[in-house]
Symmetry: C2
Subunit: 206 residues, 2 copies
């Protein structure tokens, strides 16, 4: 059986770092930005455009950026197309072998593959500090500006999740393990986490 | 620094088993029923009585079982006394050395000791199966009866949590790690979990 690990994460919680390190440790394929790259290639749009449309509330973003009805319709179509493409790509990934997949509602879309679903979160203070440390362009934002940015991005993720399922993003019931990174150094917990995952997939799930 | 692990858990999720096995693995003291035993001894009441009053919404239970106002007042006083005794005992435990503590709002009461707080939960189906396997008297209950029992016990825990703090019981923000045991064999994840905890308390927390 394929072993699929999905990582859902609050912005700034270090979920991506956790996923990447985990994939390396487990020798699993790792998918994050790669999914958007593939979509943008297939559709002949820029990665930035595909990214914007892929994790926003459907049609909402179209409405925000459209300047006329014709443009609105076109963006609507693109957004639907992107979501369909994303679903196909995720399923291909799952068929292809063991993988760690970051975001994109993979926990929902790949349900039939019985993925292990991890949610990564942290206190606002920890997230702000992390963003400031990791993202050059965020260094000049005030705490309040950082907090607003974090909240807006997570709101988009929540909306996207609502489109593709009736489950609530971040509700612990929809995940196998929820990790609060506020008091953790991510790289240090990877061996323990890899072992935990090994046991999760072990036994009768093999 | 003392290493305190608190385990909050949904009834039937296996949180107690997880805590007990963890304490054995880590060679930490383990406190669960022991706390009630100590309270009942100190107050000269039965363990059953101390148990009932210790995890219910304050005064609510007194109201339910009192037959007259005098009795009601007495139970009220007992309940307050039990909560105070429980707080003292928890603090003694924390001062005494490394420990795993099950329930009783230890995550809140012992906040200043920087405990690692774990929440253990599971799907209703898994919890019903578990109760049926572990508790002799539950074997004859229907699924619906089991579900009601589980919900009632968790409601009491939620109420108790409300008395001692303004934090919501089961809200992942108040815990460091939330473990869904629905698809896990608890004893198999103990080594990985012990390692995870070692890292949590490692480094600058030593």
């Amino acid at each position: 059986m394929r072993k699929i690990i999905t990582i859902s994460r609050e912005f700034g919680s270090g979920g991506r770092e956790l996923g990447k390190r985990l994939a390396e440790k487990l020798n699993f394929a790792y998918y994050d930005r790669e999914i958007i790259t593939e979509i943008s290639k297939k559709m002949g749009v820029t990665e930035e455009y595909a990214q914007k449309l892929s994790e926003r509330g459907i049609y909402k973003h179209a409405f925000q950026i459209a300047k006329s009805f014709t443009v609105y319709s076109e963006i609507q179509n693109n957004q639907t197309e992107i979501l369909v493409a994303q679903q196909k790509i995720l399923k291909n990934i799952a068929e292809n072998g063991n993988a760690v997949i970051i975001g994109r509602g993979a926990n929902v879309i790949l349900k039939k593959y019985n993925p292990m679903n991890i949610f990564v979160y942290a206190d606002m203070e920890a997230k702000i500090n992390r963003c400031r440390m990791k993202v050059e362009e965020d260094r000049n934002l005030s705490d309040k500006e950082m907090e607003n940015k974090i909240k807006q991005i997570d709101k988009n993720r929540k909306n996207y999740h609502k489109i593709i399922s009736n489950l609530e993003w971040g509700d612990k019931r929809n995940y196998d393990l929820c990790i609060n990174t506020s008091n953790l150094e991510i790289k240090k917990i990877i061996p323990a986490l890899a072992e935990f995952i090994g046991e999760y997939f072990g036994g009768d799930r093999e």
